[in-house]
């Protein structure tokens, strides 16, 4: 275990306490500590490092080494507020230093201009509370570039004719192509699409203290043992600690933001590993706990002064959950791809980023990628063709034949913001600390399901054009499980219809800031982490400017 060099006491009033050490919290901690501020980061999970990571699925999946454990942190689900809840794992997120960036696939697309202004362009959509962002792609572009260079993103600038403008090349070339990428590229090109090398937050060239990707094949769901995945842990967290002003405090479960009689935040109450309670005092609070835990923390912080939860005068805290729509198509080929080797994705295309709703009858857009992101176990349980016997010689034969010959085409798409789709506090179920469990209420907007089905049909056409021996897909169904946790404390200029302002400051509490997936106003087309980190660099700039002007910390 690595320990921070600086240790603060909870009674020390630091400049900033940040809840969460993931994609957003890590960036903000690095930026603020580099800018001279004293920072404490509270992380609910342990401080694991590369030496703790493993390919052992018992530890990783069954014992929840990197993610929320449903036995201690149960979650519930219902489709609508009128439905009875079911206790089931409805949310998956990282619970270790680095958060979900530790186990993510590392697909690293920028959002496009349309994602920020889509409401103005297409107008209202029935059943959705569609809105524009208060910032544009141009506002965020310098920060996208900063992310790419600071954490390390592999890619090829200008390779997609659909890409938004950029001010700089990628810092390193794309990762090598995989068999799935070659098959996808040839077939998609034949059909008139524009496949290109996938931008990935994985190193194609080594950096100090970090290896280039060694193609071990255990990427999605696993921590990287050689530091090639550009996680918060392998990048900004270490930079933050090197400043000597930032303490990463693991096993610290934040459950209440304290406020004074003036309505200002005074610190964060948390449980330590022994379930003892502490108050970390701070001049300002930043919550980057993810799009599910950030609204939950605000709701848990309700008081007589803030009866509906902190920063919730709009009533929008927890609402408009957008998990992105998705669908998969599978293909089996005659010769071995051996796609288990390497990272998940090497080729994508964005020809469907802006689809014509008038022509298709639904709103949305997306991207397709060619991948194999399955461990041997995950493959056996989820990627055998329909009709495969579930046991015996034929089962074993199919398993043996297909593992090296299978690829996936993953379709990523929009989720529309539906107000009733939400994160809230469960009335019945408690977690292991006695706090209300996280409740997800969700039913896909009909357009999102139509979009997923339409893209899946295109993916099957590509597999057909590629000459797949066998191809299939599972029916698109309503989602009950989310890993992209977006939109639940949306950004906006109007305090009546948003939770944070364009600088990530809550409209209601002047020294409380939120920055993570919850800040997003629209869902993009399926890969949010790049945008979350660009927002985080921008937020840190805005917070620094305000703090230095005396507007926050006085």
């Amino acid at each position: 275990m690595t320990q921070s060099k600086v240790i603060y006491k909870p009674s020390d009033e630091v400049d900033f306490v940040i809840v969460g050490s993931g994609a957003a919290g890590g960036v903000i901690a690095k930026e603020l500590s580099t800018n001279g501020f004293r920072v404490v980061v509270l992380e609910q999970g342990p401080y694991l490092t590369e030496n703790d990571f493993t390919h052992n699925e018992v530890k990783v999946f069954s014992e929840h080494l990197l993610t929320n454990n449903p036995k201690t942190r149960p979650t519930t689900f219902r489709k609508t507020p009128q439905d009875k809840i079911k206790t089931q794992q409805s949310i998956l997120y990282g619970t270790c230093v680095g958060g979900s960036s530790v186990h993510f696939t590392a697909n690293f697309w920028r959002f496009h201009e349309i994602d920020f202004i889509e409401h103005s362009k297409v107008g209202d959509i029935p059943g959705a509370n569609f809105a524009d962002w208060p910032i544009t792609y141009a506002d965020l572009e310098p920060y996208y570039t900063k992310v790419e260079w600071e954490i390390g993103v592999s890619g090829l600038a200008g390779a997609s004719p659909f890409d938004p403008p950029r001010s700089k090349q990628y810092p390193m070339p794309p990762l090598p192509v995989k068999g799935s990428g070659v098959i996808f590229e040839r077939a998609a090109s034949k059909l008139g699409y524009h496949p290109f090398p996938a931008p990935m937050a994985i190193l194609s060239q080594p950096r100090p203290g970090r290896s280039a990707c060694v193609n071990c094949g255990f990427c999605l769901g696993f921590g990287c043992e050689v530091g090639a995945k550009s996680t918060s842990l392998s990048t900004v967290i270490r930079m933050a600690e090197k400043t000597g002003r930032c303490e990463i405090r693991p096993n610290s479960y934040a459950h209440k933001i304290e406020t004074d009689k003036n309505g200002r935040a005074t610190g964060v109450v948390y449980f330590d590993a022994k379930k003892n309670t502490h108050l970390q005092k701070a001049k300002a609070v930043i919550v980057s706990a993810n799009g599910a835990e950030t609204p939950r923390l605000l709701l848990l912080s309700a008081s007589s002064q803030f009866p509906n939860g902190l920063a919730n005068s709009s009533g929008y805290v927890g609402k408009h959950l957008m998990p992105n729509s998705s669908a998969i198509a599978y293909g089996v080929f005659d010769e071995p791809l051996n796609d288990y080797k390497g990272f998940a994705v090497s080729r994508i295309f964005h020809d469907f980023y802006e689809l014509d709703a008038n022509k298709l009858g639904f709103h949305g857009g997306g991207g397709l990628d060619a991948r194999f992101d399955l461990s041997p176990l995950a493959f056996a349980m989820s990627a055998l063709p329909p009709g495969t016997p579930r046991w015996g010689k034929e089962f074993k034969k199919t398993l043996a034949q297909n593992f090296t010959r299978t690829m996936e085409i993953f379709c990523h798409g929009t989720s529309l913001p539906v107000e009733s789709n939400s994160i809230s506090l469960d009335d019945e179920v408690k977690d292991a600390w006695g706090l209300p469990a996280l409740r997800m209420t969700f039913r896909d907007h009909p357009d999102d399901l139509k979009l997923a089905g339409w893209m899946q049909a295109r993916a099957l056409e590509i597999l057909d054009a590629a000459g797949a021996k066998t191809k299939w897909s599972n029916p698109v169904t309503e989602q009950q499980f989310a890993v992209h946790l977006l939109g639940t404390c949306r950004m906006g200029k109007d305090p009546k219809t948003s939770v944070i302002d364009p600088d990530h400051r809550t409209h209601d509490v002047p020294n409380l800031f939120l920055c993570d997936g919850s800040s997003l106003v629209t869902s993009g087309r399926g890969q949010p982490t790049m945008t979350i980190q660009a927002l985080s660099y921008r937020a840190a700039d805005r917070i620094t400017a305000q703090a230095k002007s005396g507007a926050i910390l006085s």
Binding site: V58, E63, G392, F403, T404, Q479
Partner: protein, 219 residues
């Protein structure tokens, strides 16, 4: 009969419930450390005793798992040490499924005696008989969905032991199964911890990426 666990979401729910060669050369310390870690785990997973299963139950579990992934010209569940993996699972992350095993093994033995009077337990039946017993058992479970379950949402015995068998056959050996990587040998998964491109048939002659001709103004 198809897998019930047919989608990625279902898999996650269940589980949670679910460079170039020159560059690799510079990273040997990290790779070697990871490989050593796995090697030690293989050795530690070579237990021959049982912590949870009785010897009688272990014999039945081994026989059932050997039907799910049989030994043919290639190794199967038996050679991968799946029964030992399941025993560890029932002591640790899957301890809540022990009652499912207790009940399921008893039911399967009872069905064996019913179908083949004189054969007292599943493991004593011939391979052909075992196939017929399991076929009847799984068909019966489908017909009476819920009868063998602790709750409507709980997996039945055959689903549970199938999942654990596949898990024990394919898990990284550090997890206590897949002894000597026999499961990965069957599926042609090289146990090495690092690889260099080209990875397979389709990328070996790849000429490099080029933009689609005349289409860069597509936007």
């Amino acid at each position: 009969m198809e897998f019930d666990c047919s989608s990625r979401r279902d898999f996650l729910l269940r589980m949670g419930g679910i460079a170039a060669a020159s560059l690799i050369q510079t990273q040997w310390p990290a790779i070697a450390a990871a490989a050593q870690h796995a090697h030690q785990a293989v050795k530690s997973g070579s237990s021959q005793s049982f912590a949870v299963l009785t010897p009688e139950q272990a014999k039945e579990v081994e026989a059932i798992s050997a039907c799910i992934i049989p030994t043919d010209e290639q190794p199967g569940a038996r050679e991968a040490g799946v029964v030992y993996f399941i025993d560890i699972a029932l002591k640790t992350f899957a301890s809540d499924t022990k009652p499912v095993y207790d009940q399921g093994i008893s039911e399967l033995n009872a069905l064996t005696m019913k179908l083949y009077p004189g054969v007292s337990r599943f493991s004593a039946a011939t391979a052909e008989q075992q196939d017929k017993i399991l076929t009847a058992y799984t068909a019966d479970q489908e017909r009476t969905r819920g009868r063998f379950r602790r709750s409507p949402d709980s997996p039945d015995f055959f689903q549970t032991i199938s999942f654990h068998t596949i898990f024990g056959f394919l898990v990284d050996p550090e997890g206590g199964g897949n002894r000597d990587y026999v499961g990965w040998k069957v599926i042609n998964r090289d146990p090495a911890h690092s690889f260099s491109p080209p990875f397979g048939f389709y990328d070996k002659d790849y000429p490099g990426w080029h933009p689609a001709s005349g289409d860069m103004d597509k936007k």
